[in-house]
């Protein structure tokens, strides 16, 4: 199992995580993914990648350091994202009942290992 597969494997073991993927932040394309049925990895990569890019620019314009973790919370779940080195972004799609705290810790740890 490769490093990236290990990372995704650990993330998808967190309760409530429906899928995890690594995407190219600038292109919004999937690099590798591990998803449950019904989760559109391509859409997650493109849309979360684009949103994270905008939030990076927002932080930059506010004179702040770049984001290390982003949570987009919605009525039936969340999209979590952790930018990594080399223009990659780690993304997870989680249900409303997910343990977001644990998923966040896993993602921050994974992002630092992938960097």
């Amino acid at each position: 199992m490769t490093d990236t597969q290990l990372v995704l494997d650990r993330m998808t073991r967190v309760p409530g995580v429906r899928g995890a993927l690594i995407a190219s932040a600038d292109d919004g394309l999937v690099v590798t993914e591990q998803l449950m049925d019904g989760v559109d990895g391509r859409a997650a990569a493109a849309l979360a990648g684009s949103l994270v890019g905008r939030l990076v620019r927002t932080a930059e314009n506010a004179g702040r350091r770049p984001p290390v973790f982003v949570q987009l919370r919605a009525e039936r779940g969340s999209i979590l994202a952790a930018p990594c080195a080399e223009d990659l972004v780690l993304i997870a799609v989680v249900g409303a009942d997910a343990n977001v705290g644990l998923a966040r810790l896993e993602m921050l740890d994974a992002a630092s290992r992938l960097s």
């Binding site: 019904g38 989760v39 559109d40 859409a43 997650a44 849309l47 979360a48 684009s50 949103l51 905008r54 939030l55 620019r57 927002t58 932080a59 314009n61 506010a62 004179g63 702040r64 350091r65 770049p66 984001p67 290390v68 973790f69 982003v70 949570q71 987009l72 919370r73 919605a74 009525e75 039936r76 779940g77 969340s78 999209i79 799609v93």
Partner: protein, 289 residues
């Protein structure tokens, strides 16, 4: 260009000597078009240098632009012409409060309250400043402060006063003036224009307009991401960085609110602050629309 701005611009073009510039500049300011507002106001001031309204308006625009020294001068000019002008008294009180000179802030607010006893916002500001005064430890070495009255003396060293700013505070017209962390709340419309509030970088520079421009498409992007991934309507975005905790919430479909705090404040608390500010923003928008 919106209809009201088009109408006001047309009216001003037809009658350049009219006072329509006041309404046009104020409308532009409220929409966050500060550069345009400043141009219109300066044009009007050139024609009417003795008009207190015009100096007061210039003060508000400069304050929104983060030029606090310029705002102080403009409000002081307004008070020279009309010593009981409440807008200018409140503006100068705000600047003194920012500079930590509570006594001068109180003095100006009391004069504003005397001039307009029915203005609820003045009473609220007075109550807030008095609360702060009670909880404030006196400084070891008091800063050189300008006497509160007469007004001409108060103008003596605005920059010296302003440069002692300990903590940014919200702009005088902000709906967030009474909220905790009001100095780092920003309300933005869908076109990326700042509606209210301000946002300072750690170095103290005003970044509100630049950040507002970046936030233009965030609401739309968040909505389509959650829609296409089957997650329903979006509620908030939390952004964690090494030196800030930021939360974005949509007070209405056409606006987005950013709350930013230091990372020492837990993200969940910043989210509560943002939700509270969003409710305030929603009420404020309903009042002004």
């Amino acid at each position: 260009m919106s209809d009201d701005i088009r109408t006001l611009t047309a009216r001003l073009a037809e009658e350049p000597a009219s006072l329509a510039f006041l309404e046009l500049a104020e409308t532009l300011r409220r929409r966050g078009q500060l550069e345009a507002a400043g141009k219109v106001a300066r044009g009007g001031l050139g024609r009417y240098p003795g008009l207190a309204d015009a100096h007061d308006l210039m003060g508000r625009i400069l304050s929104d632009q983060g030029d606090l020294a310029g705002a102080f001068d403009a409000w002081a000019d307004a008070l020279r012409i009309d010593p009981m002008r409440t807008g200018a008294l409140k503006g100068i009180a705000f600047l003194y409060f920012r500079a930590g000179d509570v006594a001068a802030a109180l003095d100006h607010l009391q004069r504003a309250a005397e001039a307009d006893p029915d203005d609820v916002s003045i009473a609220q500001a007075l109550a807030k400043v008095r609360r702060e005064a009670r909880g404030m430890t006196p400084r070891a070495e008091p800063e050189p402060v300008a006497p509160a009255a007469p007004v001409s003396a108060a103008v003596a060293s605005p920059v010296a006063v302003i440069e002692t700013v300990p903590l940014p505070q919200p702009d005088p017209g902000s709906p967030f003036a009474e909220l905790e962390g009001g100095h780092s709340l920003l309300l933005v419309d869908t076109n990326g224009l700042r509606l209210a509030g301000s946002l300072r970088s750690p170095e103290g520079a005003e970044t509100g307009d630049r950040v507002a421009a970046q936030l233009a498409g965030v609401s739309r992007e968040a909505a389509r991401a959650t829609r296409l991934l089957g997650l329903g309507t979006w509620h908030s975005i939390s952004v964690e960085s090494a030196d800030a905790h930021m939360v974005l919430v949509p007070p209405t479909a056409e606006t987005i609110l950013l709350a930013a705090r230091e990372p020492s404040l837990p993200m969940a608390r910043v989210a509560l602050l943002a939700e509270r500010a969003a409710r305030t923003a929603k009420s404020w928008l309903e009042r002004i629309q």
